[in-house]
Symmetry: C2
Subunit: 275 residues, 2 copies
């Protein structure tokens, strides 16, 4: 299988170039790619050093590398574009049509896309991270009135990373509550959750996968046994159905997918989103 190296290059964090590049190249299943992300290429000197790497890579691979870049400064771009690579030039491709459409010149300010003002939305992001930590794993229940959403599910089904992701990426205040057998034996909602039924969102998971995850934490215990995991998952899904709680299976979805589906289903507006 033919191998190609793709460079995601930015004068800032490289997050946009990487996200775009991977989305495009994911469409080519037959090609084996090596991804290299190069953030903070914000001087001609850094660009010249990278130019050497790119051209050496071309020699090594025996095929020319791909460049997906979001560099704004023209001098830096000129250096990169003098390389042997195949270029996906995002800004020059889209900015001039946009300038016409908006009948406005674009300000080619290096770092502009990454200058995040510490405004109210940014503050809500940090506050949300601390909210998620304070309200993790049912530690507290008295702040549920301030929560945007309360994730529920059995222990180790993925609640905590999802809450933290929603806080960091969207400034959402997400608490999470782990169902125990005691909670579920009569299929009623725990007292702490009853007043907030409209804020509940469920996670479920394949019992095999759950057992594997729990086994790493507490090998050979009842907690990590397949029988126990099957029983808890069965009961929690029954609970979701009885109380009409929307839920998603974390076995095959990523944190990004779970989080964005929760926002979409619950109609929650993002307080913050990365610029």
């Amino acid at each position: 299988m033919n191998k190609r190296t793709a460079f995601f290059i930015s004068d800032g964090t490289g997050i946009t170039a990487e996200a775009l590049g991977k989305s495009l190249l994911a469409q080519f299943e037959r090609i084996q790619f090596e991804f290299v992300t190069k953030p903070y290429i914000d001087t001609v000197q850094k660009a010249q050093a990278l130019l050497l790497v790119i051209n050496e890579t071309a020699q090594r691979d025996g095929s020319r590398p791909l460049i997906i870049d979001t560099v704004v400064d023209q001098k830096i771009r000129d250096v990169l574009h003098s390389s042997e690579a195949f270029k996906i030039d995002v800004f020059s491709t889209f900015l001039s049509p946009l300038e016409q459409e908006l009948s406005s010149q674009s300000s080619y300010t290096v770092g502009r896309t990454h200058a995040i003002p510490k405004d109210a939305s940014y503050k809500s992001r940090i506050d949300s991270v601390h909210f998620a930590l304070d309200n993790d794993d049912g530690a507290r229940t008295h702040q549920y009135d301030k929560a945007d959403v309360i994730l529920v599910g059995v222990s180790r089904c993925g609640k905590t990373p999802t809450c933290l992701y929603m806080a960091l990426q969207f400034g959402i205040r997400a608490a999470n509550y782990p169902f125990t057998e005691e909670d579920m034996f009569d299929f009623n909602l725990p007292k702490a959750l009853k007043p907030y039924k409209h804020k509940l969102f469920g996670l479920t998971i394949d019992p095999q996968r759950l057992a594997a995850i729990r086994h790493e934490r507490r090998p050979g215990t009842r907690y990590s046994s397949l029988t126990q995991c099957e029983r808890e998952v069965h009961e929690v899904e029954e609970l979701y159905r009885r109380h009409a709680i929307s839920f998603v299976d974390s076995t095959h979805y990523s944190i990004e997918e779970i989080s964005t589906r929760i926002l979409a289903e619950c109609g929650i507006e993002r307080r913050f989103s990365p610029k």
Copy 2:
């Protein structure tokens, strides 16, 4: 000031379309934008419903909306592109040149860009989130041998959100240790950190900002007084210089910037990156 609405549309999470769209539009300072992200537009029916919204928005704004989309399915794209909006059509713009360059057909699979296999790198991501939580705020110090980086700084300068971001976005195992006055009075490194000096990365912050953050948590205390914050920040920066610890000021940088700068400076390879 002339206002334009920009729709970021995807058949998946919408994260790529949003990141790209915001990077492009951030170049137009004079235009006031309203951003609308529409993920999971994965059926013709959903596209038709969205089409109405887009055309209504054109009426309301008195100027045509912008569409930045990463939808792969042609039928869905046709619906969206029948709207009155100005389109930035990422995939059709870049996929055909890529097909030629790679002499390979792209697989226009809906959701492909968002299908994240639960492979080793994904697992390292989840493990890293739990590592960051277990090793937050100096809670434990006996796992520092397993850490990729140990963030240090005074209380509330931004260590925790940065560690969690590095874990979620890059699968990096990041611990953090808060310097107390006791730690700093003689400008020596705390015992727990001495063996891991090469893993340390410092954060600093503007004392005014720090006082404001601490005031929210413990108003009117010595902890949140400007004098105290000035003193701690002065001492911690002195400590960084004495021990040649790289550090960054979190006052004006975003979590994305701080995290990617740390990786770049420390030469840490990403174990995971969002696909």
